[in-house]
Amino acid sequence: MIRSGPGRYLFLALVALLFLFLLGPVLLVFPISFSADSFIAWPPSGWSMKWYAAMLEQPTLGVALRNSLILGSIVTVLALAIALPAAVALSRGTFPGRDAIMAGLTAPLLLPTIVLGLALLIIFVGQGLIGSWPGLILAHLLITVPYALRVLVTTLGTLPASVEEAASSLGAPALQVFFRITLPLMTPGLIAAAAIVFLVSFDEVVITLFIVGPHLTTLPVALFRYVESRTDPLVAAVSVMMVLFTLTLVVVLERAVGLRRAIGGKAG
């Protein structure tokens, strides 16, 4: 549309500005985490590593991080174990109500998390699940199973049915077809689903805020509580660690998708 003249440079400048706007908040956290001040100020009066040191001496955040990692891992395993069979049934079976079931199972993604959190809080209080591991796990399954289901159903949908039919015609019974053909071909989708589930669980705040208890909290919730009460560069240091962790996960995911080539493609 804009191909030449000053218009093009104006457009490029606008795009650059918008990119800065979009990425600025995450980028600025990095320099602030090295601030020597005890409050947020730009530019910092000096540079130091003291907030990273402070982070290590912060027992609450450390425990919360550990909880988040454990929770994310359990939820990832469970969400995949629950979503995979459902995805197979929904994309390979033809039975009445199939579309309605799919819609119902992904419905939680359409509703505000604040409403889901409140609804869970009220039920969980009655069942004594507030501030408990089973409570947190169930709450995270509520929002991660739909994501996993969506990714896996899409993955299964893109696998050509004729490959499974070929295996069947060569004498493989249904279970053999699944484990020898379908599952190996789904690997990239499974890895993507696992990564998304873990990230969603690891970053979830709103629903978790309703479910956590005084003795069991997650990192995003602990961070939220911390920022609510005071804003010092400690959070910047933690944020930097979280961003780096997420980045690592994304790179691993990228490698995993590269794995697709190893599975489907070049031998040697």
Partner: protein
Amino acid sequence: MAAEAAPPHLELHGLEKRFGATRAVQALSLSVGKGELIGLLGPSGCGKTTTLRMIGGLMPATDGRIIVAGRDVTALPPHRRDMGIVFQNYALFPHMDVAQNLSFGLEMRKIPADERQQRVQRALAMVRLEAFAARKPRELSGGQQQRVALARALVIEPSILLLDEPLSNLDANLREEMRNEIRDIQQRLGITAVFVTHDQAEALAICDRIAVMRAGVLEQLGTPFEIYERPANEFVAGFVGRVNRAAGHRGADGRLLLGDVVLQGTGHAGAGPVTIMIRPHRIRLTDTPPEGIGWNSATGTVTRRTFVGDLLSIEVALGPASLLVEQHTFAGAVVAGPGDAVRLAWRAEDTLVFPASPAGVFPAPPAGVFPA
């Protein structure tokens, strides 16, 4: 064509597939002899692939029975039917190399490893791909993938080989080469095979018999010769090979008229409007038409002449009709141009007469000729 005499190996009895109110395949009955290669031919949507998928067990039949060597297999799942299927897109397992693809069906049959290896080797040799055993499917060309698919379907020594448009993804040159290779291997193994295609030339070239289908109905079953020379109806005549189509009339006295030209023809003898079909290459342009019984001749005006290399394609207006005449280009051929009056001659047995089809059911293409 000795296969025709063989006892039936595959029988379809009243095979039917309905999707809701649509009858995709209608009461199809057909028997295939041992070692016979039968083609299911028809335009897309005629039910040929649906028929194949029902034979292979990939789709349940709504009604009817499928018998293989006297045994009813209608209710069996595909993995217990013992049929080798070559899919249109080959459906090779992308995560396995060529040898693993071939070995898969043998593993399912619990064949011991050393025998498996031998049979895979033999199958690879059969399709001349010994050197490609360790390749992944995506590292192969289209023709090579096609041969792997064929070898994979055959290595299990199935009772029947099913081929679903196996050549449609190949380019023209390769298609001809592969169809001959498929035919050679099929004859060498003496295996009963069902070959689905929409390409009439392919079907004519390699099938022992052809079943022409339209809208779920079997229109004609016969040898390629019968299908081409004695089409059972207007649809078959039009679908297989190129043909001129003209509206004519047969009087109560039995005289066949194209405009005001009296013709001798074969086929439908009833009085009333008829459709007359003549293949373009069976019409001669000649100054001295053969006279007498068995020959038709008429005079027309050339309206267009197209040079297509080995053929001259000449359109001739003949009364109300326009006939396409194809003439091989050779020295001494009559060369007529637009506006010239020419004499045409063709044999009575090449003049196919069918009852006129109701309007709309089978619309006439613009040039009066069905494309190949």
